[in-house]
Symmetry: C2
Subunit: 335 residues, 2 copies
DNA sequence: CTGAAAGCGCTAACAG
DNA sequence: CTGTTAGCGCTTTCAG
C-alpha cells in the first residue's frame, strides 16, 4: 500500500503537492498530470483513516434502523444509499433490533469513528438519546420515528392523516366494529397511527371506552400481530374489521384469521404499509402505501446539508401516504 | 471530545498508562481505577480513527451482499453481526445489488478505510475480483457463493447435494416432468443447484436433451422467476412440477402458476431456500432449508481467525441443507 | 504555485 | 509497572 510520500518521491514533488492534486488545490497542470500518472502506476489511493484523523471528519454516515428484516426499512436504506452515493458518502448500516442499548452502542461507535453524521429511525421515543452526538456537533436526522424533544432535523410520514383516512375507509365500506392493532406504546409511529384511528372512530360515533376495548398494542413484528389478532377474535363481540398499524403485524394478523377460518373481505383488513409479497395474499390487501424509499432520500439530503455546514433552522419534512383500496376491504357482504 | 492526554493530565498519569488501561496492558489496580474514574467524568471514549491509523487495522469489517431485500441475506447478515458483536467488531453492510462494478467500489472503500476484513457473497463467479485485497493482506471470506480460483476462505451451502435430494423427492412423489428454474449462469450457486437437479434427473432416466429443454436460467429475483415459469407452462408438453433454485424466484413462479390457474400439489413446486412469509402461501410449500444465519456466524468466525493472524491453510466450510417436505409436493394426484 | 513543518489521537518500543 | 518518545498518513498553515 503506497502512501502519499511514496508518490511524492516518485514524482519528484512534495507530499503537500500530491495532497493538493487529490483535493482540488491549485497545482500547475503538468505537475498535476505527472502526479496522477505516478499515483496510477503505484496503485495509490489516499488513506481515509489518516485523512479523517487529520480533518476530523469522515466520509461515512451511519444509518440506524430498528429491523433489517422489515422491507420498509430496507427500502428506506436503499433510498439513503442511493442519495449518498451521489455525494461520495458511504453508508454504514446498523441494525438496532428495536433495542435502545444496542442503539446506544452504535451511536457511540458513530462518535468514536468520527462519522460525518447519522440518520436514525429511533428505537424508542422516550429512551433514545441523541444528545451526546448533538453536543459534539455531529449532525443527526431522525427518520420515520420522531424522538421526543430532540433538537434534530426529521423526515416523517403523515401517520395520523394516513390512519384516519384508512380507518374512515373501513367505516365507509360498511364495517361495524373496526378494531386496531398498533405498535409499542413507546414509538411515535404507534401513537400517531393510533391517534388517526381514534379520530376516525370518534367521528363514526364510537365511544372512547369502546375504542379502548378494541385496541391492542403489539411489537411491530409478525408474532405480535398474530397474538393481538387472536385476542381480538376472542372478544365476546369480535370485530368485523381491523386496522393494522404496520406491515409485519398484518402478516401475523392474516395468519390468525386463516387459522380461525375467517376470510376477507367479510372480515375487513387494512395494512398501514405495504405487506411484503403482497401478491401471495388472497384476496389482495388494501394498504396505505408509505414512501419508504423517498423517506431515505429526503433524510440523506437533509443530512448532507448539515454536513456541509448549513445552519438553517431545524426542519421537519412530512411525506404523504396514499390509500390503495383493494379487495380485502370490499365490505362485510363480501361483494 | 476529550482525548487520551486530557484524561492523562486530569488523572496525573501518562497517556501511555491511559492507553494501557483501555487495552488490557498491565497497570496497577489503583491507577486503573483512577483513570477509569476520570475517563468517565470526562466522557472519554477512545478515538477509533486515531487507533486505526496507529495500529494499521480497524475494528470494522465489511459485509458485501448482493441483495439486501432478500431475507436469506438479511438472515446471513444477522449471523455475521451477532458473531462479530462478541468480538467488538462492528459490521458495515454494503449492498452490491448483484452488480460487479458496485461491488468493486465497495471493495475499494474497504481498502481505503483499512477495514479489518471483508465477507463477500460475490456478485459474480468470474468477474468478482478480490485479488487487490488479498495482495494487501486484507482477510477475505467468501460466503454462499464461491468465487472462481480466489485464494480465500469460504463458507458454503451444500447446494448440489440439497438440490439432488430435492429433485429426487419430486420424482419419488410421482411427478413425471420435473422442470428447473435456476439462477444466472455466472453464479456458483446457480450452477451447483442445477448440477444437483441434473444428477437426480439423469438418475431418474431423463435424457440430457430433455433436461436442457426443461431448464431455465433467471436472475434470482421475483420477476425472473415469474417469466421463467410462464415460459415453462407454454411448452408444448408443460412440466408437472418445478424445482426452483431460490426463494424469490419461487415467489414469482407461484404468481405465474396462480395466473395460469394451476394449483399445487397437482403441479409440484419446491423451493431451494425458505420463501419469505411462507405462512401466507397455500398450500404450504416444500422447501430446502438453508442455514443462512449459521452461514453468517461461520463466516464471521473464520474472518476473526484470520484477523487475529492465523495462517492455517485455507479452509472451506460446507453447511448442510435440510429438506422440509410439505403439501406443495404431495403428488400429482393431489392427495 | 510549491515546500517545509507541525500535528490530528493513539499505541508500541524502549528505558527506567 | 510506568513514562518518554517516535511516528501511523494525511492536510494545512506559513513562508518563499
Amino acid at each position: 500500500m503506497s502512501t502519499i510520500s511514496d508518490v511524492a518521491r516518485a514524482a519528484g514533488v512534495s507530499p503537500a503537492t500530491v495532497s493538493r492534486v487529490f483535493n482540488g488545490g491549485r497545482v500547475s497542470p503538468e505537475r498535476t498530470e505527472r502526479v496522477r500518472q505516478v499515483a496510477a502506476e503505484l496503485g495509490f489511493s489516499p488513506n481515509r483513516v489518516a485523512r479523517s484523523l487529520r480533518t476530523q471528519r469522515a466520509s461515512v454516515i451511519g444509518l440506524m434502523i430498528p429491523d433489517i428484516e422489515n422491507p420498509f426499512f430496507t427500502a428506506l436504506a436503499r433510498g439513503v444509499e442511493d442519495a449518498s452515493q451521489r455525494t461520495n458518502l458511504s453508508v454504514v448500516l446498523c441494525n438496532t433490533d428495536e433495542d435502545v442499548e444496542k442503539e446506544a452502542r452504535y451511536l457511540d461507535i458513530a462518535l468514536a469513528e468520527q462519522m460525518a453524521g447519522v440518520i436514525v429511525a429511533a428505537a424508542s421515543r422516550r429512551r433514545s438519546d441523541f444528545s451526546a452526538l448533538a453536543e459534539r456537533g455531529m449532525p443527526v436526522v431522525a427518520v420515520d420515528r420522531r424522538p421526543r424533544a430532540a433538537m434534530v432535523d426529521a423526515v416523517m410520514v403523515d401517520n395520523q392523516h394516513g390512519s384516519d383516512e384508512a380507518t374512515a375507509h373501513l367505516v365507509d365500506r360498511g364495517y361495524q366494529r373496526v378494531a386496531c392493532i398498533t405498535g409499542p406504546a413507546g414509538a411515535s409511529t404507534s401513537e400517531e397511527r393510533l391517534a388517526g384511528y381514534r379520530a376516525a372512530m370518534r367521528e363514526a360515533g364510537a365511544a372512547d371506552e369502546w375504542i379502548r376495548a378494541y385496541t391492542r398494542h403489539a411489537d411491530f413484528r409478525v408474532e405480535g400481530g398474530r397474538t393481538a389478532m387472536e385476542e381480538l377474535l376472542a372478544l365476546p363481540e369480535p370485530p368485523d374489521a381491523v386496522f393494522v398499524a404496520n406491515n409485519l403485524m398484518t402478516v401475523g394478523a392474516l395468519q390468525a384469521l386463516r387459522v380461525a377460518g375467517v376470510e376477507p373481505p367479510s372480515f375487513g383488513i387494512l395494512s398501514f404499509g405495504d405487506v411484503p409479497w403482497a401478491s401471495l395474499v388472497r384476496p389482495p390487501l388494501t394498504t396505505v402505501q408509505l414512501p419508504a424509499y423517498d423517506l431515505g432520500v429526503a433524510a440523506a439530503a437533509l443530512l448532507q446539508e448539515r454536513i456541509a455546514g448549513s445552519d438553517k433552522p431545524l426542519q421537519t419534512v412530512v411525506l404523504r401516504t396514499a390509500l390503495r383500496p383493494r379487495a380485502s376491504t370490499a365490505g362485510p357482504e363480501g361483494e
